[in-house]
Every structure is written in structure tokens, then in C-alpha cells.
Amino acid sequence: MAQPAPVLNPDRAVALPGGPPQRRLDFGKLGHFVAVGLLTLAAVASLLPLYWMITGSLKLQQNAMSVPPELWPSSPTLENYRKLFFGSKPALRWFLNSLCVAGGIAAGAVATSSMAGYALARKEFPGRKLFFVLIIATMILPREVALVPLAMLMRQFQWFDTYQGLIVPFLCYPFGIFLIRQFARGLPQELLDAAQVDGAGELQVFSRVVLPILKPAVGAVAIFAFVGGWNEYLWQLIIVNREDMLTLPVGVSKLVSSLTTFDLGVAMAGATFAFLPMLVIFLAFQGYFVKGVTLGAVKG
């Protein structure tokens, strides 16, 4: 391939004399402004639905349906939240259900993932290689493949409409196992040996030495499992029929499915409430998200 001729690089002459090394892919000043402008537009478009949801939750039905739409609620009200939580549907219970389910999944996934990830990285056991391959495979393959048999299994266990049914199938979290395993492979062996020489048993080595070092990865697993459990919709829709066992996302979506009495404001209030915990978690633990997503992509 031909080297680009120097004359074709006007920025070379400009940038060379003493300028600091440029990180940007300088397409020229104008290009840069256009690109950042487009980027800002895209970011606004990406956030617009969330803005629309939150402001919509403050609008009464007639304001929500006004033509042209009110870009800012003309008479903001919390009436929709009152209707949602003190109306005919047990929305508060749905919220608590979601909290229990996501919390249970997160706690369980952290326990099984950190143990199994540690075992995969640092211990020997029969079938270790096979287990790891299967973990990778199920991490990638869509879970919906096994949806039907899993639901049939729940019927055998009589776990429909129960917390077990909502939680237990998600306690083995392949992504979490993978993440911890990647992290645990980097543990210095001398540290583990030293702890053992000091008389620590296997359990103590795990809980006092390994877990504290793995904290960032464990945190990432907890957060991803919690968010995943909170947002898991299809499964919750399938195995819950009783109204008081519904989770918040499923309950709110059922408010809407009766389209004749579809109250936009109440639906948006429900959606906002289903979103708020995720927003808080994301803002509080943004670093973990970045770490989790990037680490998950590292090929092992």
C-alpha cells in the first residue's frame, strides 16, 4: 500500500511544530464540531424516551393525550402515583416482589458465582474443563431455548406463583461465574499459600483472602444479577398468574394490556417506578458497569 504523500496531510505541517500530541482523530475543526453536534443530538434522542416517561408520569390523562403534546407538563401532579399505589392494583406489593426477586437472585448468584469461579480458576475437580465450556456456551446461547421445559419443571415442582420459581432458576449465573473466574485467575498463588501456611483452612482462605481481593468482580456480579433479575420479564410473565405475586414490570405491563382503560399517566408512573431503582444503581455504581461489561468481553 502506498504511503500517503506528505502534501496530502495539511495537518502534519500545522501539528508538528511543538504542538502537544493529539489524541483526537482530527477531521479538522469544522468536522469535529459537526461530529460532536450529531453526537449530542443522538444522546438527546437516546435520553428522550426516559424524559418523556418521567414527565409523562406527572401528566393527567387529558394532558397526556393533548395535541400537540405538552413538551413540559403544564400542570404537573402526583395523582398518577397515588392512583398506582392506592388504586385497585397492589402496585406496592409488586414493587416489594421485584425487590425480593432481584435481591434474592443477586445474593444467590454472588454466592454460587464466586465459589464456582474460584473453583474453576484455582481448584481441580472432575469435569472442570467441560463445566467451563458449558458455562461459556450458555452465556452466549439464548436462554429462551429451554423456556418450555423449564416451565414444565416448575409445574412439577409446583413452583408457579412462588418466589422459588421466580428466583431459583437464575441462581446459577454463567456470566457471573465467568467474570469471577477471569478475576480469580490473576490472584497471586503466594498469597494463598502464605495464608495456608499461617494455618488458614480452605474456607478461611476463600472468605478472608480470596473474597476481599475479588470484591470489584463480586460487586459487578451482584449489580448485573440484580439488574438482570429486576428486568427479567418473560420468565416472570410466564410463571406468575396470581395478581399479588406479580413483579413490578409485569404488573405495570398488565395495566396497559387492558387497552380500553389504558391510563397513560399511570402507566408512565409505573414505568418510572420500575426504572428508578435501576437509575439509582447505575448512577451509584457506574464504574462496576463499565468494569463488568469490559471484563465480560475479555476472551478467556
Partner: protein, 320 residues
């Protein structure tokens, strides 16, 4: 020659004793190994049990069930490949496969490319600006599909929806986004795109961060312009990330179902049927478990094939 019979003599008694001895030795070996690996087994056990029961067993059961006719009653009937034969002539299913294919081909490459473009523009900006844009593109992804679907249902509403209003300001026509068979699928595609765009942006920003500035500077001093640096340095170094993103995005889009359940229920006229939505409807509205499992098996094969092909590419990437 003389030693041969002797050898036979010494061999015979051992062989006669062998079965019991060998079994005992085998047992001792297995027990010894289990004892040696007891801590590995201990730590792996909870995950192993849960994995076998709730992931592996249903998977195997699903493959098996594809060859049966099974419904709500306990008895099932072996039907061989009949379920698969029926799939070939099931117009709603075939439509769902086509729609899912269209979504995958439309959304996955687009989100990968958009993610690349966005991260290229965002990367040189200040830390604070990077943080804002990361937030802006990742936030829809932490909202659940239901939450987004509910909002978009309203935004797409033809008479008082936001989208038609904004289009109207620009002199555009009023469109029945979810009500017309030509627009419904692209409309869902847009929702899915905004939902999954965060991962590519995050990953590629991280990928760009691993490219050494010295390398860029050296290329710059050697007279490589921005385009040359993008093509010769940035893109080749980002290739593993790009491929990984493409694989995961492809699989994610293949599973599109929540937006369908909340927004269109597969309509109008099957225009938004998707693979997983067919499975869901067939199993949990029509209670045809065997038939739904056959669909699941086909989905499994599709996903496995795509993953294998992409892994081959990734593998070659790692070797080269």
C-alpha cells in the same frame, strides 16, 4: 521360544483375579481423586447442581421434547420429525424467522457501527463529557424492555404521539408506526437499537483506551493522516472488540420478544412476529409444548451456528 509358555503361566492367574482387583483399584482411584479434589468440588457444587437442574436438564429436555407431541396433559406421543416438518409449512413461524432475520441484519450491524462512530467521537473529549455520553447511551439499556416499550407505545401513537408531532414540525406525514405492516417492524427495531446501543459504546470506548497514544503519535509523525490512522491502526486493533460486539448484539437481537409482547403482540398481520414470540405464544397461549420445543431447537441451532462462525473468526483473529 522356551520362555513363551512360562509367560503364559505367570499371566493366567493375574487375569483370573483381575476383575475384582481392577474394580477395587478403580474405586480406590476414583475415591482418591474425589478426596484430593474435595475442595474444588465443594466450591463448584452449588453452581454445578443448579446448572445441571435448571440450565442443562431443560436444554436436553427441550431437544428431546421436539420429537414429541406434548400438551398440558402428562402423556406425550413420539412423532419423530413431524414437528419440524410442520414448521416448514407454518406461515406464521416462517414469517417470524424472516422478521427476526431482518431485525438481526438491520439492527446488529447498525448498533455495532453506531457504537464505533459514537465512541470515536466521544473518546477524545474530556473525562466529564465522556461520562455524560456513556450515561446517555447506556441508560436506556438498564431500563427494562417493558419500561421502554411502554414509553415508545405512547411516542409511536399516531394522533397524540411525540414522534408524529416532531415529524409534523418538519413537515413530515403522520404515520401509523405500529399499526401499519410496513412500519411496525422497523419501529420495533428502533426501540431495540436504543436499548442495546450502550454495550457497543462502552466496549469500544474501553477498546480505544487500550491503544497506546505513542503508537498514534508515531504514525502521526510518519505522516499518516486521520483516515490512514483510523484504517491502519484503530480499526485493526479494535477488530476483536468489533467482532465480539457483533456476536453478542446478534444473539441479543435474535431474542427480541419483550417489545413484541408489550407493543404489538405480533401484529399487524404477523408483521412483527419474532422467533421467541412464536415460542412464547405456541407454548403458553396454545399449550403445544412439543411444537414450541421444536422451535426452540431450531433457535438453538441458529444461535450455535452463528456463534461458531463468529468464534472461528475471533479465533483466527487471535492467532493472526
Amino acid at each position: 521360544m522356551r520362555e513363551l509358555p512360562e509367560a503364559r503361566v505367570t499371566l493366567a492367574p493375574v487375569e483370573a483375579k483381575a476383575p475384582g482387583l481392577r474394580a477395587r483399584r478403580l474405586l480406590a482411584g476414583v475415591l482418591g481423586r474425589l478426596y484430593r479434589d474435595r475442595w474444588g468440588l465443594f466450591f463448584a457444587a452449588p453452581a454445578l447442581v443448579l446448572f445441571s437442574l435448571f440450565i442443562l436438564y431443560p436444554l436436553a429436555q427441550g431437544l428431546l421434547l421436539s420429537f414429541f407431541e406434548a400438551g398440558l396433559s402428562q402423556d406425550r406421543r413420539f412423532v419423530g420429525l413431524a414437528n419440524f416438518a410442520r414448521l416448514m409449512g407454518d406461515s406464521a413461524f416462517l414469517q417470524a424467522v424472516r422478521n427476526t432475520g431482518a431485525l438481526v441484519l438491520g439492527v446488529a450491524p447498525l448498533s455495532t457501527l453506531l457504537g464505533l462512530a459514537i465512541s470515536l467521537v466521544v473518546f477524545p473529549l474530556s473525562q466529564r463529557a465522556q461520562g455524560f455520553f456513556r450515561l446517555a447511551f447506556y441508560l436506556p439499556g438498564v431500563a427494562s424492555g417493558v419500561v421502554l416499550s411502554l414509553v415508545w407505545l405512547w411516542i409511536y401513537q399516531p394522533t397524540y404521539g411525540l414522534l408524529n408531532h416532531l415529524l409534523g414540525l418538519a413537515g413530515g406525514p403522520r404515520i401509523a408506526w405500529l399499526g401499519s405492516s410496513e412500519w411496525a417492524l422497523p419501529s420495533l427495531g428502533l426501540v431495540v437499537l436504543t436499548w442495546i446501543l450502550g454495550q457497543p459504546v462502552l466496549l469500544m470506548l474501553a477498546g480505544l483506551g487500550t491503544i497506546s497514544p505513542e503508537l498514534m503519535e508515531a504514525a502521526h509523525l510518519d505522516g499518516a493522516g486521520p483516515a490512514a490512522r483510523l484504517w491502519r491502526i484503530t480499526l485493526p486493533l479494535l477488530r476483536p472488540t468489533l467482532l465480539f460486539v457483533l456476536v453478542t448484539q446478534t444473539i441479543a437481537v435474535m431474542q427480541t420478544v419483550v417489545v413484541v409482547i408489550v407493543m404489538t403482540r405480533g401484529g399487524p398481520a404477523n408483521a412483527t412476529q419474532t422467533f421467541v414470540y412464536r415460542i412464547y405464544e405456541t407454548a403458553f397461549d396454545f399449550y403445544q409444548f412439543g411444537y414450541a420445543s421444536a422451535m426452540g431447537t431450531v433457535l438453538f441451532l441458529f444461535a450455535a451456528a452463528i456463534t461458531l462462525v463468529q468464534f472461528r473468526l475471533l479465533g483466527r483473529e487471535l492467532e493472526g
